[in-house]
Protein backbone atom coordinates (compact mmCIF):
# COMPACT_ATOMS: atom_id res chain seq x y z
CA UNK A 1 0.00 0.00 0.00
CA UNK A 2 1.05 3.63 0.07
CA UNK A 3 0.41 4.44 -3.57
CA UNK A 4 3.22 6.67 -4.74
CA UNK A 5 1.28 9.78 -5.63
CA UNK A 6 -0.79 9.52 -2.47
CA UNK A 7 1.67 9.16 0.33
CA UNK A 8 -0.79 10.81 2.70
CA UNK A 9 -3.79 9.30 4.39
CA UNK A 10 -7.23 10.12 3.04
CA UNK A 11 -8.78 9.26 6.38
CA UNK A 12 -7.87 12.12 8.68
CA UNK A 13 -9.19 13.48 11.96
CA UNK A 14 -11.88 16.13 11.96
CA UNK A 15 -11.63 18.99 14.50
CA UNK A 16 -14.04 17.14 16.79
CA UNK A 17 -11.74 14.10 16.79
CA UNK A 18 -13.79 11.88 14.52
CA UNK A 19 -12.49 9.83 11.61
CA UNK A 20 -15.16 10.87 9.21
CA UNK A 21 -14.33 8.41 6.41
CA UNK A 22 -14.90 5.52 8.81
CA UNK A 23 -18.26 6.94 9.83
CA UNK A 24 -19.22 7.18 6.17
CA UNK A 25 -18.08 3.61 5.66
CA UNK A 26 -20.38 2.56 8.50
CA UNK A 27 -23.21 4.40 6.77
CA UNK A 28 -22.48 2.36 3.65
CA UNK A 29 -22.72 -0.79 5.77
CA UNK A 30 -25.97 0.40 7.27
CA UNK A 31 -27.56 0.70 3.85
CA UNK A 32 -26.51 -2.82 2.88
CA UNK A 33 -28.68 -5.92 3.01
CA UNK A 34 -29.39 -7.31 6.46
CA UNK A 35 -27.25 -10.12 7.80
CA UNK A 36 -27.06 -11.72 11.24
CA UNK A 37 -25.35 -14.38 13.30
CA UNK A 38 -26.26 -16.43 16.37
CA UNK A 39 -23.93 -18.45 18.57
CA UNK A 40 -25.60 -21.55 19.95
CA UNK A 41 -24.34 -23.91 22.63
CA UNK A 42 -23.14 -26.40 20.04
CA UNK A 43 -22.52 -24.32 16.93
CA UNK A 44 -22.95 -21.02 15.09
CA UNK A 45 -25.35 -19.91 12.38
CA UNK A 46 -24.93 -16.90 10.07
CA UNK A 47 -27.50 -15.74 7.57
CA UNK A 48 -28.08 -12.96 5.08
CA UNK A 49 -30.65 -11.61 2.68
CA UNK A 50 -29.76 -12.23 -0.92
CA UNK A 51 -31.81 -9.70 -2.88
CA UNK A 52 -30.66 -9.58 -6.47
CA UNK A 53 -31.17 -6.56 -8.74
CA UNK A 54 -33.31 -8.46 -11.28
CA UNK A 55 -34.93 -11.84 -11.91
CA UNK A 56 -32.59 -12.08 -14.84
CA UNK A 57 -29.65 -12.58 -12.50
CA UNK A 58 -28.67 -16.23 -12.14
CA UNK A 59 -28.83 -16.67 -8.37
CA UNK A 60 -26.64 -19.76 -8.52
CA UNK A 61 -23.72 -17.56 -9.59
CA UNK A 62 -23.98 -15.48 -6.43
CA UNK A 63 -22.90 -16.72 -3.03
CA UNK A 64 -22.57 -14.11 -0.29
CA UNK A 65 -21.66 -16.59 2.46
CA UNK A 66 -18.05 -17.64 2.00
CA UNK A 67 -15.79 -20.28 3.53
CA UNK A 68 -12.48 -19.01 4.86
CA UNK A 69 -11.21 -22.34 6.21
CA UNK A 70 -13.05 -25.66 6.60
CA UNK A 71 -14.11 -24.55 10.08
CA UNK A 72 -14.60 -20.81 9.61
CA UNK A 73 -17.22 -19.03 7.50
CA UNK A 74 -18.07 -15.39 6.90
CA UNK A 75 -20.99 -13.24 5.81
CA UNK A 76 -21.06 -9.49 5.16
CA UNK A 77 -23.23 -6.41 4.97
CA UNK A 78 -22.25 -3.54 2.72
CA UNK A 79 -20.26 -3.44 -0.50
CA UNK A 80 -19.89 -6.85 -2.08
CA UNK A 81 -16.72 -6.12 -4.07
CA UNK A 82 -14.91 -4.98 -0.90
CA UNK A 83 -15.88 -8.21 0.87
CA UNK A 84 -14.28 -10.27 -1.88
CA UNK A 85 -10.94 -8.59 -1.22
CA UNK A 86 -11.15 -9.38 2.50
CA UNK A 87 -12.20 -12.99 1.89
CA UNK A 88 -9.23 -13.50 -0.40
CA UNK A 89 -6.75 -11.95 2.04
CA UNK A 90 -8.16 -13.93 4.98
CA UNK A 91 -7.95 -17.21 3.11
CA UNK A 92 -4.33 -16.53 2.28
CA UNK A 93 -3.51 -15.61 5.88
CA UNK A 94 -5.13 -18.83 7.10
CA UNK A 95 -3.05 -20.86 4.65
CA UNK A 96 0.16 -19.09 5.63
CA UNK A 97 -0.57 -19.83 9.30
CA UNK A 98 -1.09 -23.48 8.49
CA UNK A 99 2.11 -23.65 6.48
CA UNK A 100 4.06 -22.20 9.38
CA UNK A 101 2.49 -24.02 12.33
CA UNK A 102 0.95 -27.10 10.68
CA UNK A 103 -2.24 -26.40 12.62
CA UNK A 104 -5.51 -24.83 11.56
CA UNK A 105 -5.65 -21.15 12.46
CA UNK A 106 -7.69 -20.36 15.60
CA UNK A 107 -10.75 -18.24 14.94
CA UNK A 108 -9.57 -15.32 17.08
CA UNK A 109 -6.29 -15.11 15.23
CA UNK A 110 -7.90 -15.06 11.80
CA UNK A 111 -10.34 -12.40 12.92
CA UNK A 112 -7.51 -10.35 14.33
CA UNK A 113 -5.50 -10.51 11.12
CA UNK A 114 -8.53 -9.60 8.98
CA UNK A 115 -9.29 -6.70 11.30
CA UNK A 116 -5.69 -5.56 10.98
CA UNK A 117 -6.07 -5.39 7.21
CA UNK A 118 -9.19 -3.31 7.59
CA UNK A 119 -7.45 -0.96 10.00
CA UNK A 120 -4.52 -0.53 7.62
CA UNK A 121 -6.86 0.75 4.96
CA UNK A 122 -8.02 3.47 7.35
CA UNK A 123 -4.51 4.76 7.85
CA UNK A 124 -2.47 4.01 4.73
CA UNK A 125 -1.93 6.51 1.94
CA UNK A 126 -4.23 6.78 -1.01
CA UNK A 127 -6.88 4.26 0.03
CA UNK A 128 -10.35 4.38 1.53
CA UNK A 129 -11.73 2.17 4.32
CA UNK A 130 -13.62 -1.01 3.42
CA UNK A 131 -17.36 -0.47 3.13
CA UNK A 132 -18.26 -3.78 4.81
CA UNK A 133 -18.82 -5.26 8.23
CA UNK A 134 -18.10 -8.96 8.54
CA UNK A 135 -19.67 -11.64 10.71
CA UNK A 136 -17.17 -14.46 11.18
CA UNK A 137 -18.47 -17.80 12.46
CA UNK A 138 -16.09 -20.55 13.51
CA UNK A 139 -15.65 -23.63 15.67
CA UNK A 140 -12.25 -24.53 17.09
CA UNK A 141 -10.78 -25.85 20.32
CA UNK A 142 -12.32 -22.94 22.20
CA UNK A 143 -15.77 -23.94 20.98
CA UNK A 144 -18.25 -22.08 18.79
CA UNK A 145 -17.41 -18.41 18.20
CA UNK A 146 -19.02 -15.45 16.45
CA UNK A 147 -17.13 -12.23 15.72
CA UNK A 148 -18.18 -8.97 14.09
CA UNK A 149 -15.52 -6.86 12.37
CA UNK A 150 -16.24 -3.25 11.41
CA UNK A 151 -14.68 -0.95 8.76
CA UNK A 152 -12.57 0.67 11.46
CA UNK A 153 -10.89 -2.65 12.17
CA UNK A 154 -12.41 -3.10 15.61
CA UNK A 155 -13.87 -6.50 16.38
CA UNK A 156 -15.89 -8.02 19.17
CA UNK A 157 -17.15 -11.46 20.04
CA UNK A 158 -20.94 -11.68 20.04
CA UNK A 159 -23.57 -14.08 21.29
CA UNK A 160 -25.82 -12.79 18.55
CA UNK A 161 -25.55 -9.81 16.23
CA UNK A 162 -27.05 -8.20 13.16
CA UNK A 163 -25.88 -5.66 10.58
CA UNK A 164 -27.24 -3.74 7.63
CA UNK A 165 -30.55 -2.07 6.90
CA UNK A 166 -32.68 -3.67 9.53
CA UNK A 167 -30.09 -3.73 12.29
CA UNK A 168 -32.05 -2.17 15.16
CA UNK A 169 -35.20 -4.27 14.73
CA UNK A 170 -33.16 -7.39 14.21
CA UNK A 171 -31.06 -6.79 17.32
CA UNK A 172 -34.14 -6.11 19.45
CA UNK A 173 -35.70 -9.31 18.19
CA UNK A 174 -32.52 -11.26 18.90
CA UNK A 175 -32.21 -9.82 22.41
CA UNK A 176 -35.66 -11.12 23.22
CA UNK A 177 -35.17 -14.55 21.71
CA UNK A 178 -31.58 -15.38 22.60
CA UNK A 179 -30.79 -17.93 25.31
CA UNK A 180 -27.37 -19.30 26.17
CA UNK A 181 -28.60 -22.89 26.12
CA UNK A 182 -29.95 -22.59 22.57
CA UNK A 183 -29.09 -25.49 20.28
CA UNK A 184 -27.97 -25.06 16.69
CA UNK A 185 -31.32 -26.05 15.20
CA UNK A 186 -33.17 -23.53 17.37
CA UNK A 187 -30.61 -20.91 16.42
CA UNK A 188 -31.29 -21.52 12.71
CA UNK A 189 -35.01 -21.09 13.30
CA UNK A 190 -34.45 -17.91 15.25
CA UNK A 191 -32.17 -16.60 12.52
CA UNK A 192 -34.86 -17.23 9.92
CA UNK A 193 -37.54 -15.57 12.03
CA UNK A 194 -35.30 -12.55 12.55
CA UNK A 195 -34.67 -12.21 8.83
CA UNK A 196 -38.36 -12.64 8.15
CA UNK A 197 -39.20 -9.70 10.45
CA UNK A 198 -37.71 -7.07 8.22
CA UNK A 199 -38.00 -8.90 4.91
CA UNK A 200 -39.67 -7.00 2.07
CA UNK A 201 -41.49 -9.43 -0.15
CA UNK A 202 -41.78 -13.20 -0.07
CA UNK A 203 -38.96 -14.97 1.73
CA UNK A 204 -37.75 -18.18 0.06
CA UNK A 205 -34.76 -20.48 -0.21
CA UNK A 206 -33.57 -18.42 -3.17
CA UNK A 207 -33.40 -14.98 -1.59
CA UNK A 208 -31.70 -15.79 1.71
CA UNK A 209 -28.52 -17.67 2.51
CA UNK A 210 -27.73 -19.62 5.67
CA UNK A 211 -24.36 -20.95 6.81
CA UNK A 212 -23.93 -23.25 9.79
CA UNK A 213 -21.10 -24.84 11.69
CA UNK A 214 -21.65 -27.48 14.34
CA UNK A 215 -19.50 -29.63 16.59
CA UNK A 216 -18.32 -31.48 13.49
CA UNK A 217 -16.32 -28.28 12.81
CA UNK A 218 -17.26 -28.16 9.17
CA UNK A 219 -18.69 -24.90 7.87
CA UNK A 220 -21.47 -25.50 5.42
CA UNK A 221 -23.69 -23.21 3.35
CA UNK A 222 -27.18 -24.70 3.22
CA UNK A 223 -28.61 -25.42 -0.21
CA UNK A 224 -31.78 -23.57 -1.28
CA UNK A 225 -33.87 -26.70 -0.71
CA UNK A 226 -32.47 -27.17 2.80
CA UNK A 227 -33.33 -23.54 3.51
CA UNK A 228 -36.84 -24.14 2.19
CA UNK A 229 -37.25 -27.05 4.64
CA UNK A 230 -36.33 -24.80 7.55
CA UNK A 231 -38.65 -22.07 6.25
CA UNK A 232 -41.56 -24.47 6.17
CA UNK A 233 -40.89 -25.60 9.71
CA UNK A 234 -40.90 -21.97 10.78
CA UNK A 235 -44.36 -21.36 9.30
Amino acid sequence: MGDSQYSFSLTTFSPSGKLVQIEHALTAVGSGQTSLGIKAANGVVIATEKKLPSILVDEISVQKTQILTPNIGVVYSGMGPDSRVLVRKSRKQAEQYYRLYKEPIPVTQLVRETATVMQEFTQSGGVRPFGVSLLVAGYDDKGPQLYQVDPSGSYFSWKASAMGKNVSNAKTFLEKRYTEEMELDDAVHTAILTLKEGFEGQISGKNIEIGVIGSDRIFKVLSPSEVEDYLQEAE
Partner: protein
Protein backbone atom coordinates in the same frame (compact mmCIF):
# COMPACT_ATOMS: atom_id res chain seq x y z
CA UNK B 1 -17.94 21.41 13.38
CA UNK B 2 -16.44 18.70 11.21
CA UNK B 3 -15.23 18.81 7.65
CA UNK B 4 -17.93 16.36 6.79
CA UNK B 5 -17.36 15.83 3.12
CA UNK B 6 -13.56 15.60 3.21
CA UNK B 7 -13.14 19.04 1.77
CA UNK B 8 -15.33 18.28 -1.23
CA UNK B 9 -12.90 15.66 -2.56
CA UNK B 10 -15.44 12.90 -2.20
CA UNK B 11 -16.52 13.78 -5.71
CA UNK B 12 -13.02 13.75 -7.16
CA UNK B 13 -11.55 10.52 -5.84
CA UNK B 14 -13.08 7.36 -4.52
CA UNK B 15 -13.56 8.18 -0.86
CA UNK B 16 -16.86 7.89 0.96
CA UNK B 17 -19.48 10.63 0.91
CA UNK B 18 -21.42 11.39 4.11
CA UNK B 19 -24.20 9.10 2.90
CA UNK B 20 -21.73 6.27 2.53
CA UNK B 21 -21.64 6.43 -1.26
CA UNK B 22 -18.77 6.51 -3.71
CA UNK B 23 -19.48 9.35 -6.11
CA UNK B 24 -16.68 8.50 -8.51
CA UNK B 25 -18.13 5.03 -9.00
CA UNK B 26 -21.59 6.48 -9.60
CA UNK B 27 -20.15 8.91 -12.13
CA UNK B 28 -18.41 6.02 -13.87
CA UNK B 29 -21.84 4.40 -14.31
CA UNK B 30 -23.12 7.66 -15.79
CA UNK B 31 -20.21 7.67 -18.24
CA UNK B 32 -21.33 4.25 -19.44
CA UNK B 33 -24.82 5.56 -20.06
CA UNK B 34 -23.58 8.74 -21.69
CA UNK B 35 -21.74 6.79 -24.38
CA UNK B 36 -25.16 6.55 -26.00
CA UNK B 37 -24.93 2.89 -26.95
CA UNK B 38 -27.07 0.05 -25.60
CA UNK B 39 -25.98 -3.58 -25.46
CA UNK B 40 -27.93 -6.76 -24.80
CA UNK B 41 -26.88 -10.26 -23.80
CA UNK B 42 -29.06 -13.38 -23.78
CA UNK B 43 -28.23 -16.89 -22.60
CA UNK B 44 -30.02 -19.80 -24.25
CA UNK B 45 -30.06 -23.53 -23.65
CA UNK B 46 -26.79 -24.17 -25.49
CA UNK B 47 -25.59 -20.80 -26.69
CA UNK B 48 -25.01 -17.20 -25.59
CA UNK B 49 -25.49 -14.14 -27.76
CA UNK B 50 -24.51 -10.50 -27.26
CA UNK B 51 -25.59 -7.58 -29.42
CA UNK B 52 -24.58 -3.95 -29.46
CA UNK B 53 -25.15 -0.88 -31.58
CA UNK B 54 -22.38 0.08 -33.95
CA UNK B 55 -22.20 3.85 -34.04
CA UNK B 56 -19.71 5.17 -36.58
CA UNK B 57 -19.64 8.91 -35.95
CA UNK B 58 -17.85 9.89 -39.15
CA UNK B 59 -18.28 8.52 -42.70
CA UNK B 60 -14.55 8.79 -43.27
CA UNK B 61 -13.83 6.33 -40.46
CA UNK B 62 -12.83 2.79 -41.35
CA UNK B 63 -15.88 0.90 -40.10
CA UNK B 64 -14.02 -2.31 -39.50
CA UNK B 65 -11.90 -0.63 -36.83
CA UNK B 66 -14.93 0.53 -34.86
CA UNK B 67 -15.78 -2.32 -32.57
CA UNK B 68 -16.73 -2.98 -28.96
CA UNK B 69 -16.83 -6.75 -29.31
CA UNK B 70 -13.52 -8.45 -28.55
CA UNK B 71 -12.37 -12.04 -28.46
CA UNK B 72 -10.31 -12.61 -25.32
CA UNK B 73 -9.36 -16.17 -26.15
CA UNK B 74 -10.67 -18.51 -28.79
CA UNK B 75 -13.46 -19.47 -26.39
CA UNK B 76 -14.20 -16.29 -24.46
CA UNK B 77 -15.69 -13.06 -25.74
CA UNK B 78 -16.08 -9.64 -24.14
CA UNK B 79 -18.59 -6.97 -25.09
CA UNK B 80 -17.68 -3.56 -23.70
CA UNK B 81 -20.20 -0.77 -23.22
CA UNK B 82 -18.96 2.70 -22.37
CA UNK B 83 -15.70 4.54 -22.97
CA UNK B 84 -13.91 2.87 -25.87
CA UNK B 85 -10.41 3.70 -24.64
CA UNK B 86 -11.08 2.19 -21.21
CA UNK B 87 -12.54 -0.84 -22.95
CA UNK B 88 -9.39 -1.44 -24.96
CA UNK B 89 -7.20 -1.28 -21.84
CA UNK B 90 -9.44 -3.76 -20.11
CA UNK B 91 -9.43 -6.10 -23.09
CA UNK B 92 -5.64 -5.96 -23.34
CA UNK B 93 -5.24 -6.87 -19.69
CA UNK B 94 -7.90 -9.57 -19.89
CA UNK B 95 -6.22 -11.18 -22.90
CA UNK B 96 -2.92 -11.19 -21.05
CA UNK B 97 -4.47 -12.69 -17.94
CA UNK B 98 -6.32 -15.39 -19.86
CA UNK B 99 -3.19 -16.38 -21.76
CA UNK B 100 -1.14 -16.55 -18.56
CA UNK B 101 -3.85 -18.65 -16.93
CA UNK B 102 -3.73 -21.15 -19.78
CA UNK B 103 0.07 -21.29 -19.53
CA UNK B 104 0.19 -21.55 -15.76
CA UNK B 105 -2.61 -24.06 -15.15
CA UNK B 106 -2.76 -25.99 -18.40
CA UNK B 107 -6.45 -25.43 -19.13
CA UNK B 108 -8.56 -22.64 -20.52
CA UNK B 109 -9.66 -19.84 -18.19
CA UNK B 110 -13.33 -20.42 -17.30
CA UNK B 111 -15.87 -17.63 -17.86
CA UNK B 112 -16.59 -16.96 -14.21
CA UNK B 113 -12.89 -16.85 -13.31
CA UNK B 114 -12.28 -14.16 -15.94
CA UNK B 115 -15.34 -12.25 -14.81
CA UNK B 116 -14.18 -12.40 -11.21
CA UNK B 117 -10.70 -11.22 -12.19
CA UNK B 118 -12.11 -8.23 -14.05
CA UNK B 119 -14.45 -7.42 -11.18
CA UNK B 120 -11.65 -7.63 -8.62
CA UNK B 121 -9.52 -5.28 -10.71
CA UNK B 122 -12.43 -2.84 -10.89
CA UNK B 123 -12.80 -3.04 -7.11
CA UNK B 124 -9.17 -1.99 -6.66
CA UNK B 125 -9.86 1.18 -8.63
CA UNK B 126 -12.77 1.97 -6.30
CA UNK B 127 -10.59 1.73 -3.24
CA UNK B 128 -7.27 3.25 -4.29
CA UNK B 129 -7.23 6.96 -5.01
CA UNK B 130 -4.49 6.87 -7.61
CA UNK B 131 -6.62 5.25 -10.32
CA UNK B 132 -10.15 6.18 -11.33
CA UNK B 133 -12.74 3.48 -12.00
CA UNK B 134 -13.04 2.43 -15.65
CA UNK B 135 -16.08 3.74 -17.48
CA UNK B 136 -16.92 0.32 -18.89
CA UNK B 137 -19.51 -2.37 -18.26
CA UNK B 138 -18.16 -5.66 -19.58
CA UNK B 139 -20.26 -8.66 -20.62
CA UNK B 140 -18.28 -11.89 -20.73
CA UNK B 141 -19.57 -14.91 -22.60
CA UNK B 142 -18.37 -18.44 -23.01
CA UNK B 143 -19.22 -22.10 -22.56
CA UNK B 144 -18.27 -23.59 -19.19
CA UNK B 145 -17.25 -27.25 -19.18
CA UNK B 146 -19.52 -28.11 -16.29
CA UNK B 147 -22.14 -25.38 -16.20
CA UNK B 148 -22.78 -24.88 -19.90
CA UNK B 149 -23.38 -21.49 -21.54
CA UNK B 150 -22.50 -18.58 -19.23
CA UNK B 151 -23.07 -14.85 -19.46
CA UNK B 152 -21.47 -12.57 -16.85
CA UNK B 153 -21.69 -8.82 -16.45
CA UNK B 154 -18.99 -6.79 -14.63
CA UNK B 155 -19.47 -3.13 -13.72
CA UNK B 156 -17.29 -0.21 -12.53
CA UNK B 157 -18.23 -0.89 -8.89
CA UNK B 158 -16.64 -4.33 -8.99
CA UNK B 159 -19.90 -6.28 -8.94
CA UNK B 160 -20.26 -9.31 -11.13
CA UNK B 161 -23.18 -11.66 -11.57
CA UNK B 162 -24.12 -14.48 -13.89
CA UNK B 163 -27.15 -13.58 -15.97
CA UNK B 164 -29.85 -15.34 -17.91
CA UNK B 165 -30.18 -12.11 -19.89
CA UNK B 166 -29.00 -8.58 -19.29
CA UNK B 167 -28.35 -5.18 -20.74
CA UNK B 168 -26.00 -2.22 -20.37
CA UNK B 169 -25.74 1.33 -21.64
CA UNK B 170 -28.16 4.14 -22.43
CA UNK B 171 -31.40 2.17 -22.50
CA UNK B 172 -30.38 -0.43 -19.96
CA UNK B 173 -33.49 -0.31 -17.79
CA UNK B 174 -35.97 -0.44 -20.66
CA UNK B 175 -34.10 -3.41 -22.10
CA UNK B 176 -34.06 -5.24 -18.78
CA UNK B 177 -37.81 -4.72 -18.42
CA UNK B 178 -38.31 -6.15 -21.92
CA UNK B 179 -36.04 -9.12 -21.21
CA UNK B 180 -37.63 -9.87 -17.83
CA UNK B 181 -40.93 -10.40 -19.58
CA UNK B 182 -39.39 -12.67 -22.18
CA UNK B 183 -37.38 -14.74 -19.70
CA UNK B 184 -40.03 -14.92 -17.03
CA UNK B 185 -40.73 -18.62 -17.20
CA UNK B 186 -37.13 -19.68 -17.74
CA UNK B 187 -37.54 -20.49 -21.41
CA UNK B 188 -34.82 -22.62 -22.97
CA UNK B 189 -34.00 -20.81 -26.18
CA UNK B 190 -32.43 -22.52 -29.16
CA UNK B 191 -29.54 -20.80 -30.88
CA UNK B 192 -31.79 -19.01 -33.39
CA UNK B 193 -34.23 -17.96 -30.67
CA UNK B 194 -31.37 -16.67 -28.52
CA UNK B 195 -29.95 -14.48 -31.26
CA UNK B 196 -33.34 -13.25 -32.37
CA UNK B 197 -34.44 -12.42 -28.84
CA UNK B 198 -31.28 -10.38 -28.34
CA UNK B 199 -31.61 -8.49 -31.63
CA UNK B 200 -35.34 -7.88 -31.34
CA UNK B 201 -34.88 -6.67 -27.77
CA UNK B 202 -32.45 -4.05 -29.03
CA UNK B 203 -34.77 -3.08 -31.89
CA UNK B 204 -37.76 -2.78 -29.59
CA UNK B 205 -35.97 -0.72 -26.97
CA UNK B 206 -34.38 1.68 -29.44
CA UNK B 207 -37.49 1.67 -31.58
CA UNK B 208 -35.73 1.31 -34.88
CA UNK B 209 -35.11 -1.48 -37.34
CA UNK B 210 -31.45 -2.12 -37.97
CA UNK B 211 -29.40 -2.82 -41.02
CA UNK B 212 -26.80 -5.51 -40.60
CA UNK B 213 -24.00 -2.94 -40.64
CA UNK B 214 -25.46 -1.01 -37.72
CA UNK B 215 -25.12 -3.72 -35.11
CA UNK B 216 -22.43 -6.10 -33.87
CA UNK B 217 -23.36 -9.62 -32.82
CA UNK B 218 -21.17 -12.09 -30.97
CA UNK B 219 -22.08 -15.69 -30.18
CA UNK B 220 -20.69 -18.76 -28.53
CA UNK B 221 -22.30 -22.18 -29.00
CA UNK B 222 -22.00 -25.38 -27.05
CA UNK B 223 -21.37 -27.48 -30.14
CA UNK B 224 -18.02 -25.88 -30.99
CA UNK B 225 -17.39 -23.63 -27.96
CA UNK B 226 -15.67 -21.02 -30.13
CA UNK B 227 -16.46 -17.32 -29.73
CA UNK B 228 -17.52 -15.88 -33.09
CA UNK B 229 -18.37 -12.43 -34.32
CA UNK B 230 -21.15 -12.80 -36.87
CA UNK B 231 -20.57 -11.46 -40.38
CA UNK B 232 -22.98 -8.98 -41.95
CA UNK B 233 -24.50 -11.78 -44.04
CA UNK B 234 -25.17 -13.92 -41.00
CA UNK B 235 -26.68 -10.92 -39.21
CA UNK B 236 -28.86 -10.26 -42.25
CA UNK B 237 -30.25 -13.80 -42.09
CA UNK B 238 -31.34 -13.27 -38.52
CA UNK B 239 -32.79 -9.83 -39.26
CA UNK B 240 -34.81 -11.28 -42.10
CA UNK B 241 -36.03 -14.10 -39.90
CA UNK B 242 -37.17 -11.57 -37.30
CA UNK B 243 -39.06 -9.39 -39.77
CA UNK B 244 -40.72 -12.43 -41.33
CA UNK B 245 -41.74 -13.65 -37.92
CA UNK B 246 -43.36 -10.31 -37.23
Amino acid sequence: MSRGSGGGYDRHITIFSPEGRLYQVEYAFKAVKAAGVTSIGVRGKDSVCVVTQKKVPDKLLDQTSVTLLFPITKYLGLLATGITADARTLVQQARNEAAEFRFRYGYEMPVDVLARWIADKSQVYTQHAYMRPLGVVAMILGIDEEKGPQLFKCDPAGHFFGHKATSAGGKEQEAINFLEKKMKNDPEFTYEETVQTAISALQSVLQEDFKASEIEVGVVRKEDQIFKVLSTDEIDEHLTAISERD
